[in-house]
Subunit: 550 residues, 2 copies
């Protein structure tokens, strides 16, 4: 018996009615929580509906629907929680029509503009299992076997990066005093955690001073006699370092962004100078960041040279390999990461090129005791000497994402990941060669990995581009054209490419170039899909009148 | 054709063999990524196996297996990623035997020691759907409909807390310049985000000074003329505030923990004094924290009185309602949260008393523009004026957990959550009355909500306890006894209760009391289960010789 609001407001509404209503609610809610065996038929019904959602979602080739954002958001304007539990059938219908239908087909072979991809199918049943088990990885009392499983998976990747001896891993893999890596929600938290460890180790307790952790940053800089603290890296460093610099009280103006060369790699000479300047100015260099796969263009810094600089400066060397880390699986491409094994800390994202679901970031430490500097305890749990993973972590309660990571490493394996990495780069090179051979496009730099920047050149300007005679005004016009092209392509939704802004100094001043940005990681993307995406852009461009931008 | 390592090392291994091997890998990997329709039979097979895991896991009554941790961790000592992809069948067998079998039955009605519970069954198919859709909630280009769905769900909870007008919600719910709340990975990140917003707003840009965000904490304190910055709250504040104080450069010694009264609520008089002292000492009070449901004992601070103090001091008032927030659903118990509507920010965890899977923290803001102070942009995405949720967030890429939140609010509804909250508290009161009537136990304070602290009293000491004549030595012995009892109970695994340390000043000095800690939130937990847990403890205690601790 479900009463309408009107009935509830009706004068005939009585205490008995309320009792009956409460009993009905109790029955409905308890049914939601009943153990599997009791609700099999309802659960099977939902399974069937959501499986249909999954199947139709995963088999759609288009990148997206063409619904207008302004129209879409009108479907989500309810600010009141329903009084009564909604009917499952109606709710699932609503979900299907409004959410699932207009979500982005991140697995589409023609959605090649962001760092998302089709995922191996085993992640879907595992997601259900993870949620059924609902372990809380913060402590051993809520995640027993999974804590050790997580440590094992992290050790495997640690070994891939640092390749220490058997005895090293035997000693540390399940040692509760050692931290080979920390599983976090994403690359941002991984990078922040690395900077946090670096800062706390650089400004640790000494003599009567209790360290930055307890006394704060101002007191620590004062005690150690620094005029300030900085983080140094490439201008293409991820914006999570801006967050880190802000959050940690360093200040984003103390995040020193060094120019890159034509290949989107940090200029080593300029980096060396910046380090020298900071030291001369008595600024603490908390860490130097090397980027292995910039978010913008996939460029990989010369890590070995940065390692030299960091070593000379006695500072923490962090490598943000959130995107590019898995190049290490490839015999053909891992040389690009040479020097990563000298990093004090390394970030890798599982939800990027390990082909796992969203929500898996990792930070690895060369020194298994580095993370001691951020250790915290709490009396109800997180006890010293325990296996509680939450002792050394920015986050507290967190899901058992290790289940995916462990499965991925085992079910795809070294050779499987190597194949995936090699294929992505091979197809990116294919796309680059297509673009070079097509008069409609200009390639903006040779790809280092599997990200590609290019742009469409409106017909009247093609000759000028070929002769490298594009004026600044022409460039502005081309920018507007490409921005418009990307927006229309996204709106139509057949295919998808993202866009970014690349600065270039070709006119003896810094000018912005709006670039189309392809990310080729989806194993389902074929050369034919790439052709289709480029053809789609040419067709859309043909409909855009250049005069609009004049 | 899968070659063994030995075969690969064999001299007969040739280029042709390698080619064949690579082809085999390619076939295996591509099969993992094939779209649903193509792999139906394999996917159905895995579904069946993992569904069996789920069903047997969810129907187990025991809290855990009795495997020894030292033995268990030996199963996870492999530091090498397998070269070849593992066979699915073998891997799932390994997973079942080693991980699933020895995970904690967080849904067991007799696992009543931590803030985990059985979950409504709809979260399991939704987990699969979420993973299939694999949206990245950081930006609209990878999470279209879901971004609006998330905003809607957050607005619903915002309204429950703040209850502003229809027109307020119509204006802000889908306004990309407004932030009613931020969905994060957990309560810790929610609390850190709140402190971050508070700090950046307190030390914002003014005249030529660019604000703490850009210039850093030391410069900001200097510019504003403060001698330091503090956060003030109850001694029972969650340890995420230690993390916040450390991470943000404030220093954990500047986290001022005010004593609580007998009911685990912050002492208002002492809080008022601390605020006055900080102001007299020219320390910036970044925020005052009220706790709505301490992790230790479930106590709820007197939020209205704290709101008065914060208002007088013109400082940010944050309420950590990670645990206790959902009391607001209950007509009977929401009065305990009176004053929460005056908070500048509120943390609530979805994975606690909203009965959703791990990984759902939320922070809400009274002022929809408060989070502007942490806004960041990046050229490849996160554009100003866009609907990108990642603009104002600590985290970057993150999964579409909003799917669970939205479903929970709709499928359980106001009345459903009210029932769940009322039931948890009712059963806690039942347990408290059992404990009071049993000579074996001592209740340590009346429960405010649905957490309960108590302890076992060894027989020779019961009379002394009744007469309140327990000496400090007796207390130490009782502590050791209870620690041992909790460890043995956990090890046997039939039932589970956690433990914590409560300090008391009963001997005119601070002495620690080791307490058993029950958390009664699981709707499947019956009064009979509670009886069973207490009986289990009595049986275990009977086997513990008190002389061991003398």
């Amino acid at each position: 018996m479900i009463l309408s609001k009107q009935e509830m407001l009706n004068e005939s509404y009585s205490f008995e009615t309320e009792q009956a209503l409460n009993y009905e609610i109790e029955k409905q809610v308890m049914q939601l929580f009943a153990s599997s065996s009791q609700v099999t038929s309802i659960e099977e019904q939902i399974d069937r509906i959501t499986d249909n959602f999954c199947q139709s979602f995963l088999s759609t080739i288009n990148a997206n629907t063409d619904i207008n954002l302004d129209l879409l958001l009108k479907n989500f304007s309810e600010s009141q929680i329903p009084v009564q539990p909604a009917s499952l059938e109606n709710y699932l219908k609503h979900l299907g029509n409004n959410v699932v239908a207009h979500s982005i087909h991140t697995s589409s072979p023609r959605f090649i503009g962001h760092m998302t991809s089709a995922l191996p199918y085993f992640v879907r049943p595992l997601a259900k299992l993870m949620t059924a088990m609902n372990q809380n990885a913060v402590k051993i009392e809520t995640a027993k076997a999974l804590s050790f499983c997580e440590r094992e998976a992290l050790a495997m990747l640690h070994r891939l990066i640092y390749n220490f001896s058997d005895s090293f891993y035997a000693q540390h893999i399940q040692n509760n005093l050692s931290t080979l890596g920390i599983l976090v929600s994403g690359g941002t938290v991984a990078n922040i955690t690395a900077v946090w460890c670096a800062r706390n180790n650089a400004l640790g307790p000494i003599d009567e001073f209790l360290g930055v952790e307890k006394e704060g940053l101002a007191a620590a800089l004062d005690f150690y006699g620094y005029k300030g603290a900085v983080i140094i890296g490439s201008e293409l460093m991820h914006f999570s370092f801006d967050k880190a610099a802000d959050l940690m009280g360093i200040g984003t103006h103390r995040l020193i962004r060094i120019p890159t060369d034509g290949n989107n790699r940090v200029n080593i000479q300029a980096l060396r100078q910046a380090v020298a300047q900071c030291r001369a100015q008595n600024l603490l260099i908390i860490g130097i960041v090397g980027v292995a796969g910039t978010t913008d263009s996939g460029g990989v810094d010369s890590l070995a040279e940065i390692a030299d600089i960091a070593q000379e400066a006695h500072t923490h060397f962090h490598v943000d390999a959130a995107w590019g880390g898995p190049l290490i699986f490839s015999q053909q491409h891992r040389h690009k990461l040479a020097g990563i094994e000298r990093a004090d800390s390394v970030t890798i994202d599982g939800h990027k090129q390990l082909y796992l679901p969203m929500g898996i970031g990792m930070v690895f430490f060369r020194d298994p005791h580095k993370a001691e500097a951020i250790e915290k305890q709490a009396s109800y749990t997180m006890r010293k000497g325990s296996f509680d993973l939450g002792k050394r972590a920015l986050e507290g309660s967190r899901p058992g994402m290790a289940l995916f990571l462990h499965a991925g490493l085992n079910l795809i394996g070294l050779k499987g990941y190597e194949f995936l990495i090699d294929e992505g780069i091979r197809k990116t090179q294919y796309m680059a060669s297509c673009i070079c051979s097509m008069p409609e496009f200009e390639l903006l730099g040779e790809p280092d990995t599997n990200l590609l920047l290019y742009r469409y050149i409106p017909k009247p300007l093609r000759e000028l581009v070929a002769k490298k005679q594009l004026t600044e005004t022409d460039n502005q016009l081309t920018n507007k054209f490409n921005e418009s092209l990307q927006k229309i392509q996204r709106q139509i939704g057949r295919t998808f490419i993202s866009r970014t802004t690349k600065t270039t100094s070709s006119f003896s001043k810094e000018i912005p170039i709006i670039a189309l940005r392809a990310v080729i990681a989806n194993p389902l993307t074929t050369e034919k899909d790439i052709d289709t995406v480029l053809k789609d852009q040419i067709e859309i461009a043909a409909e855009i009148s250049i005069s609009t931008f004049l």
